[in-house]
Structures are given as structure tokens and as C-alpha cells.
């Protein structure tokens, strides 16, 4: 035991002065309070028999003085802040990396792995010495510090309480790097990983992360690793019949025993299909549901297995969102184009108006205008423009007339050319374009660009450098796809719509308009602001479920999307008993007994208060005076 507060000499001085004061006060207190009586002779008669009790009374008063001196001694000792000798050494610096990945939601230990990990972390914090400092870090897809490097137990315990599990994998490498950086320059650094050890292949982790002298410790959590999961889930509408859709999903049995699974598919909250499946050991079973109808917006897949086969409920549910169906208004300015009219008839969600060139234009606003061989100025009537063989005074300057040409190169990933093969299209005549710097060439012959996209005066356009009727394009399936892809790309209704994002990754969600930031309503109900960069909201999502975007002056709805864990590696939840880094296993954590705390002065003070309370009560009940 040693003193970390005032030195012994000072304590003795304080005790001497204060005890002298106590003795003086005690002597003054011995002057009893005077009470008048009407006739003292009556008292004399009884006091004669009480002489023997006087000695006890004096002794009791002496005990009272000794009690006061004992209280003083306790107080002075508290000023010295006594501590066990082991607490007086230089303190450790701990980084508590609490695994908050999806696998920590497993319930093989009750109530969950995360709760068990937090309990272990609390034990470590309560066992910290007086000179020890620690920081609590939530280990998810990115390490998130929940506290500062502190010795304040209440702050650390509060930070542990704030740790919550996400639907992402734990990036141990990032966590160790963060811990190493946090401990840089600090003595006796220790990295304590508290988790199930399901961090994928860590054999080469030691080569990538250097701990720079910090000690790695590991607290294993978890008992068994039985799990069934939905590892993939996707949905899309049919391009030519958007009322119908198809679903692809994959179920994985990660157990060494076969499993019977009930798969439930719900659209907009209503069950649309229930299937019973039998999966072999470690089998991954893909399933396709084609030509489905009945859901207009959301889809949810859920699996149920026999008890004991599935310890992780987090990956038993998957979410997907169908692209929104909207009737697009299309203006066709054409002298008559049967192929074009036929292509537009294929999509029942198009509201087509046709006018002849030179005729008065309808006084309405259109999402898309298709200009067949003409390039009139439409002003604000149309949002986007598709030019078919535009004249020379159109949006693009003609470079050169062409004959007998085709697409030699084309942008395969372009939404306009999705699902299309342009290589064998023959064109009789046309012309190439001179695109501007900001324009994008989507297709070109060897003689120059023949399919260009860009923007003029705030209106997007796609221009085709030939009349389709002068080619065999109109005879191919690529023609209606080209027309409908272009319209869909203009109205943001992409057939390649992402039905769900993957948690733990950075999402880039297209946002209409020119907003600097949008609001994102998370599955848990929390609403956060998300920055918008290049027309896309950028956010790293950590929870599976449905998200809603809103923004603008009225916080108007901007769209919805879904997110899923969909990570087979994270679904492998078999816990590890040890964590090996660079061939060396992490050591165990030594936790000091909680019963004896280093802040002894608190107990001394409590003792003083307790004794004073007893003294106060007995004084007022006239027991000790």
C-alpha cells in the first residue's frame, strides 16, 4: 500500500493540527448544557446511588473523543489517496475493440454474443488500475471510437453501453490499425479484441498490420456456429412488362448437417410465396422466381429452420425494392415512323403524344421528346431529347456523311445500350458527329461517332447519326430495347435498378436535382443528413432494411432503397478460441478482481460519512451524550 495523494509528512501535519482542534472542541463540548431544576435536593437523593455509573459516563465521553479522532484519521488518510502498490506503477493503455459485426448478433450465448462481449468489456474496465487508461472502439466495417482514452470508468462503461451491432462484417485489419495508431507514443499499450474471431482469413494479417510493440489480447465469445442464411437476394422488373418481376435468391446451409428450410417471400408485407426446401450439408441453393406479380414496391424474403440449426437470425431476412413504376410522358415529333410507333407500343407505361413537324406543339410538359429527323426548339416542354438522324443545325455538328457503316465500338455499360449487341448492325447511310468536350460517345464507327449523349441548356439528349429506317436496326430486337432503354435512362427508371445494396459498403444513390445534402431515414427510425456528391448521396450503410431518402425545401420524398447483409463470410459464425497474428496467438486478458478497487479514498470517505451518521443519530437520541 502506498500514497498517491498528499505525502506522509503533510498528512501527519494536518492530522496533528486538526486533532488539536478536535481536542479543544471536545474540551469545550465537555461544558455541559445547563438545565434549571426546581429542587436539586431530590436529585441528590438519587445521584448518590449513581456514583458507579459516572466512571462509565467518563469512559463513554473518552470513547467519543477517540471516535472523533478516528474519523479525523480516516479523513486524513483519504487525503493521502492510499492505493495498492501494484496500482502505483505506470498504467497500461488499452484499446478495447468490441466486435459489433453481424455475427455478434448470434444467440448461441444468451442473450447474444454482443451482450456477452460487452459484459467482458465491462469486467475489464472495472478491473482497470488507477493509472490505467482505455478507449472503447466499436469494431465494424470501420472502427468507431465510442470514448476517448480515459481512466474514467463511468465514461468507459457508458461507451460500452453505446456499442451496438451492425449488419456488416468486422474489418479486423482496420480495427488493429486504428488501435495501433491510438497507442502510438503511449506506454504499455494493449489491443484487446473482444469478439467471436470470425474475421475470415487472418493468416496474412500480421504481414499487413504491425502493432508496433503493442500487446494483442483476445477475449473469445461464442459457443457454436450453426447458421442458415440468405446469401443473395435480387429482384428486377421485366423491361417490357413492368407489372411483373423476377426474383433471384440464394440460401446457404453453413452447417455440417442437412437442414429443412421454409422460405417465405412477401411483397408489400403480404406473403406471396412459401416454399419448403431441403439443403444438404454446406450447400448453397440458388432459387429463381420468374414472372411474379402482386408486389408493387417492396419484397422481403425470410427463412425459418428447425431450432438449433440457426444461431444467427440477422441473415435470415433479406430485403429488396422494386423500381418505381411511373407513366412517362413522351412527345414524338415525326412525319410518321411505323418502327418507332411499334417500339413505343411495347411499353404500356408510356403516355405518347405525336405531332407532325411544323405543327403546333401541345402546351404540356413531357419527360422525353423523340425528334425524328427534325430538331425544333422545344424550350422547357421536354426534359430530355432523343434525336434520330438530327439535321446539321441540331445539337451536334455533322462531321462527315457516311455510307455502309456500322457500330465498330460502343459503350457496353451504358444504360442506353443495355442488353444490346450492336456489332452486326448494317447502316446504309448517315453521318458522323463532332461531339463537344462534355459529350459522351456511346457508339462509333471507324469513321467517327454515330451515337452521342450529352446535355444542352440543362436538357439531356441522345443523338443517333442515322435514320434507323436506313439500317437493319429496326428489324432487330435491339431497336425497341434502344428506344425504351433511352426513355428509361431519361426518366431514371433503369431496368438495371439496384434492388438492394450491401451493408458495410459505401453506397452511391442517385439523387434527382442539384441538392447538396439529403435526409436518410434508416431502418431503425433514425434520420440523418447525407452529403450529395456528383448527383449521388454517399453513405456507408451498416444496417439491413429499407431506407428512405428525402430532401429539398419541403423534405420531399426522393426515393427508397433496400440493404442486405448478403455476406456469406459473415454468415460463417463459427467462433474461434484464439486469434493468431503473424503466427503468434493473442494472449488472454488478466482482469483485476473487482472486489477491491484502487480508489480507496472513496471507501474511507463513505466510512466517515457512515460513522458520522451513526454519531449524529445517537447524539440526537441522547444515546452517546
Amino acid at each position: 500500500m502506498g500514497l498517491s495523494g498528499l505525502p506522509l509528512g503533510s498528512l501527519l501535519g494536518i492530522f496533528g493540527a486538526a486533532s488539536a482542534l478536535v481536542v479543544v472542541l471536545y474540551i469545550l463540548k465537555l461544558r455541559r448544557r445547563a438545565v434549571p431544576v426546581p429542587f436539586s435536593r431530590i436529585w441528590d437523593s438519587i445521584l448518590r446511588d449513581k456514583q458507579a455509573s459516572e466512571l462509565f459516563s467518563k469512559l463513554r465521553r473518552l470513547l467519543s473523543l477517540l471516535l472523533q479522532l478516528a474519523l479525523l484519521a480516516l479523513l486524513v488518510t483519504a487525503l493521502g489517496d492510499p492505493k495498492p502498490k501494484e496500482d502505483l506503477r505506470e498504467g497500461r493503455h488499452l484499446v478495447l475493440l468490441i466486435d459489433a459485426s453481424a455475427s455478434m448478433k448470434a444467440v448461441d450465448v444468451k442473450p447474444s454474443r454482443l451482450a456477452a462481449a460487452k459484459a467482458e468489456a465491462e469486467k475489464i474496465v472495472r478491473g482497470l488500475g488507477a493509472a490505467d487508461r482505455a478507449i472503447v472502439v466499436q469494431l465494424g466495417s470501420v472502427p468507431t471510437p465510442r470514448s476517448s482514452m480515459s481512466g474514467d470508468q463511468s465514461e468507459l462503461l457508458q461507451a460500452i453501453t453505446a456499442v451496438s451491432a451492425s449488419d456488416t462484417r468486422a474489418e479486423l485489419e482496420a480495427g488493429l490499425a486504428f488501435g495501433r495508431d491510438s497507442l502510438r507514443g503511449l506506454a504499455h499499450g494493449e489491443l484487446v479484441v473482444i469478439g467471436d474471431g470470425a474475421y475470415g482469413d487472418t493468416s496474412t494479417l500480421g504481414e499487413r498490420v504491425s502493432l508496433e510493440g503493442a500487446v494483442l489480447r483476445f477475449v473469445p465469445i461464442g459457443k457454436s456456429g450453426r447458421n442458415l442464411s440468405i446469401s443473395e437476394f435480387s429482384v428486377r422488373r421485366y423491361p417490357l412488362d413492368k407489372s411483373r418481376y423476377e426474383v433471384m435468391l440464394e440460401i446457404a446451409n453453413l452447417n455440417d448437417v442437412p437442414a429443412d428450410v421454409e422460405l417465405e417471400l412477401a411483397g408489400d408485407g403480404v406473403v406471396v410465396d412459401v416454399t419448403r426446401l431441403k439443403l444438404g450439408p454446406n450447400e448453397r441453393l440458388p432459387r429463381y422466381y420468374q414472372d411474379l406479380a402482386g408486389a408493387s414496391r417492396s419484397l422481403t424474403a425470410r427463412i425459418k429452420a428447425a431450432p438449433g440449426l440457426d444461431d444467427l437470425p440477422a441473415d435470415d431476412v433479406a430485403y429488396a425494392l422494386l423500381p418505381e413504376r411511373r407513366r412517362a410522358r413522351v412527345l414524338v415529333v415525326s412525319a410518321g415512323n411505323t418502327y418507332l410507333e411499334a417500339a413505343l407500343l411495347l411499353d404500356e407505361y408510356l403516355d405518347v403524344s405525336q405531332v407532325a413537324p411544323g405543327a403546333p406543339l401541345p402546351d404540356a410538359r413531357f419527360d422525353v421528346a423523340i425528334l425524328d429527323g427534325v430538331a425544333p426548339s422545344l424550350g422547357e416542354r421536354a426534359g430530355s431529347l432523343l434525336y434520330l438522324d438530327p439535321p446539321a443545325d441540331g445539337p451536334l455538328t455533322h462531321a462527315a456523311p457516311l455510307e455502309d457503316f456500322g457500330f465498330d465500338t460502343w459503350e457496353r455499360k451504358s444504360a442506353v445500350l443495355r442488353f444490346m449487341s450492336m456489332g452486326d448492325i448494317q447502316v446504309a447511310k448517315g453521318h458522323s458527329f463532332k461531339p463537344q468536350a462534355a459529350d459522351k460517345v456511346l457508339g462509333a464507327s471507324d469513321h467517327g461517332p454515330i451515337l452521342v449523349s450529352g446535355a444542352r441548356d440543362g436538357h439531356r439528349f441522345v443523338a443517333l447519326g442515322f435514320d434507323p429506317r436506313n439500317s437493319d436496326l429496326v428489324l432487330r430486337i435491339a431497336w425497341p430495347l434502344f428506344v425504351l432503354n433511352t426513355i428509361n435512362a431519361f426518366v431514371e427508371e433503369d431496368t438495371g435498378y439496384v434492388s438492394s445494396y450491401r451493408t458495410g459498403e459505401v453506397w452511391r444513390i442517385a439523387v434527382p436535382g442539384s441538392l447538396a445534402s439529403v435526409s436518410l431515414l434508416q431502418p431503425g427510425g433514425a434520420k440523418i443528413a447525407v452529403p450529395v456528391s456528383d448527383g449521388r448521396a454517399v453513405y456507408r450503410g451498416e444496417h439491413a432494411g429499407f431506407y428512405k431518402l428525402s430532401g429539398g425545401p419541403d423534405d420531399a420524398p426522393l426515393g427508397e432503397f433496400a440493404a442486405n447483409l448478403s455476406d456469406l463470410e459473415e454468415s460463417r459464425i463459427a467462433p474461434r478460441k484464439e486469434l493468431v497474428l503473424a503466427g503468434k496467438p493473442a494472449s488472454a486478458v488478466a482482469i483485476a478482481p473487482v472486489s477491491f478497487k484502487s480508489d480507496l479514498w472513496i471507501y474511507l470517505l463513505l466510512a466517515v460519512i457512515g460513522i458520522s451518521l451513526v454519531e449524529w443519530i445517537t447524539y440526537h437520541r441522547r444515546v452517546t451524550v
Partner: protein, 311 residues
């Protein structure tokens, strides 16, 4: 007007007046008029009154005959006796005289101890009994005594003089030490005419309560002891280490008061009261304990009458 008007301060609140009037009202005063103080001895009176005396005179009760002497009133000659005996005999009648009643009110500091109820009780008793005496044409004298006779109301008679009694008692203030022996010596020296001596006191006499009573007895007064008792003094509200001091003598005692000590105190208080009663009884001195907690009219109208102090 009730007797308690005596103790009513001029600026006393109306509620206090109502309470006191309830204790000592006009009805109670009328009841007092029908009472008389009993004296077991016959003392020589000075004036004609309702008390029998040893003198023969002009009363209505026949006492004796004597031989006629020249100058006697012919109306008192017993002519029947002359016919039988042939001698002129004169009828003698018992003279009815007044009785001297002395009220000795202890006005030491101990009487005003605490809330002063004992002193108030003593003055009320003295006033009530003095009214009884005045109503019976007795000669009433009131003195205040501590270790000496501190004040004295001149002898008076007739119930019309009750206001003098009230005035005297209201001006009587407590203070000083008790020494009834010395005070009674002074008293008997000042009052040659013997009579009833009603001692109204708590009898807290450091020199012994016996001395004062014996002084009255030995000087041929007929003492009555009205012992004013406050039982709150038997078990004071004390606890812990205290320094007790006598409110009269200032004597100090350091005491650690405990529950058992308070029990002993209650027993000692009771023993002291019994010792006084035993002393008085053994010397045929009428003794009455006037508890301040007892209703005043019950004390006067029942206890004193039952004890033979009043009739």
C-alpha cells in the same frame, strides 16, 4: 365577576379571559359563598361574627347563669329560675366572634418554575379560600413568603373586601429562595392573634419543610398545608449529559440523564411527597396535595370538602 378577574392582565387576550372565566366563573363564586373553613380549635375573636367563642355575651346560644349584680340588664334576668330557687340569676349567652385566617403563599422562585402553573394554582387557591373566609366574616390575612415575609395584605373582613385580596395576589411576584422556617418565625412574630394558618407551597425547602410547619404549630397556630404539586417535575424532559442547577440556590450537579435515572427521579419525587404527607398526618396537620393538573373547582368543591377543610 369571577375571581380570576384578579389574574387577568389589562391587555390579556380575549381568549385567555374566556378560558379563565370558564375555570372560575360567577357560578363557582356563588358556590364558594355557601362554604366555610373548618377550624378544629376555637380562637379568641375580636369582633362579632359567626364563629363560636369562649366569651359570653350577646349571642343567641345559651351558655350559663350567674348571680345578678347591680347594673345588669333586667331583660336578662331568668325569672323562672328566681321562682324555683329564689335567687336572681342572669342568663349568659355565647358570644359569636370572628376567626383569624392567614394565607401564607409561597412566592419563591421554585413556584414559578417551568410554565408557572404552580404559582397560579397557589394564588387561585388562596383567592378562593380567602373569599370563603370573607364571606363568613372571618378576618383574612394574606402574606407572601420566601425565606422571609416578602409582602403582607392587612387583615380584612367582609366579602366586599375581596377586591383587596385580588389586588394583593395579582401584585405578588415569585422570586427568591425558600426558607419556610425563617419566614414562619417572622410571620408568628408579626401576627399575635392566633388562628388558622393556611400554607400554600410546593414545600421545596432546602432546610427542610418541617421547620416552617413546626414553627406554626409551636406558636399555637392551626396550620393547614396545601401542597402545590406539578407532576411534570417528577419526570423532566431531559436526556444526556447536563449540568443541573437549582433555580433558587444555584447549586449545580453534573448528571448523565438516562431513562433509568428518570425512573429513579419519579420515585424520589413520589417519596418526597409521601414524606410530607406522613409528617403532617403524624402531627395532625391537615394536608392536601393540590395538583396543578387537577381541575380547580373539583379541587376546591370536592377534595377540600371531603377532606374536612371546608364545610
Amino acid at each position: 365577576m369571577g375571581l380570576l378577574e384578579l389574574f387577568r392582565p389589562k391587555s390579556a387576550p380575549r381568549r385567555a379571559e374566556v378560558r379563565r372565566a370558564a375555570l372560575f366563573d360567577d357560578d363557582f363564586q356563588k358556590k364558594l359563598e355557601s362554604l366555610a373553613i373548618v377550624s378544629r380549635r376555637i380562637f379568641a375573636g375580636r369582633m362579632r361574627a359567626d364563629r363560636r367563642s369562649k366569651k359570653k355575651g350577646s349571642g343567641v346560644e345559651f351558655a350559663d347563669h350567674r348571680d345578678y349584680a347591680p347594673g345588669d340588664d333586667f331583660r336578662s334576668v331568668d325569672w323562672n329560675a328566681y321562682q324555683r330557687f329564689g335567687r336572681l340569676l342572669v342568663r349568659l349567652y355565647e358570644e359569636e366572634e370572628d376567626l383569624s385566617i392567614y394565607f401564607i403563599v409561597d412566592s419563591s422562585s421554585s413556584m414559578a418554575f417551568g410554565d408557572g402553573k404552580k404559582f397560579d394554582q397557589a394564588r387561585r387557591l388562596a383567592a378562593a379560600l380567602a373569599y370563603v373566609g370573607l364571606a363568613n366574616l372571618d378576618r383574612v390575612t394574606i402574606v407572601g413568603a420566601t425565606d422571609e415575609v416578602v409582602s403582607r395584605m392587612p387583615t380584612t373582613r367582609g366579602k366586599g373586601r375581596i377586591f383587596k385580596v385580588f389586588e394583593f395576589l395579582s401584585e405578588l411576584t415569585p422570586g427568591g429562595a425558600t426558607d419556610l422556617g425563617d419566614a414562619m418565625k417572622t410571620f408568628v412574630a408579626q401576627h399575635k392573634r392566633r388562628g388558622l394558618a393556611v400554607l400554600v407551597s410546593d414545600l421545596y425547602d432546602p432546610a427542610g419543610f418541617e421547620r416552617g410547619i413546626n414553627t406554626l404549630r409551636f406558636n399555637r397556630f392551626e396550620p393547614f398545608v396545601l401542597h402545590v404539586v406539578d407532576h411534570k417535575e417528577a419526570r423532566p424532559e431531559l436526556k444526556g449529559d447536563v449540568r443541573l442547577y437549582d433555580c433558587e440556590t444555584g447549586e449545580e450537579r453534573e448528571v448523565t440523564v438516562t431513562d433509568s435515572l428518570l425512573d429513579d427521579m419519579a420515585r424520589a419525587f413520589d417519596d418526597y411527597q409521601k414524606s410530607i404527607e406522613r409528617f403532617c398526618t403524624s402531627r395532625q396537620v391537615p394536608y392536601f396535595a393540590a395538583d396543578v393538573g387537577m381541575p380547580f373547582d373539583e379541587l376546591v368543591l370536592r377534595v377540600f370538602r371531603r377532606g374536612g377543610f371546608l364545610r
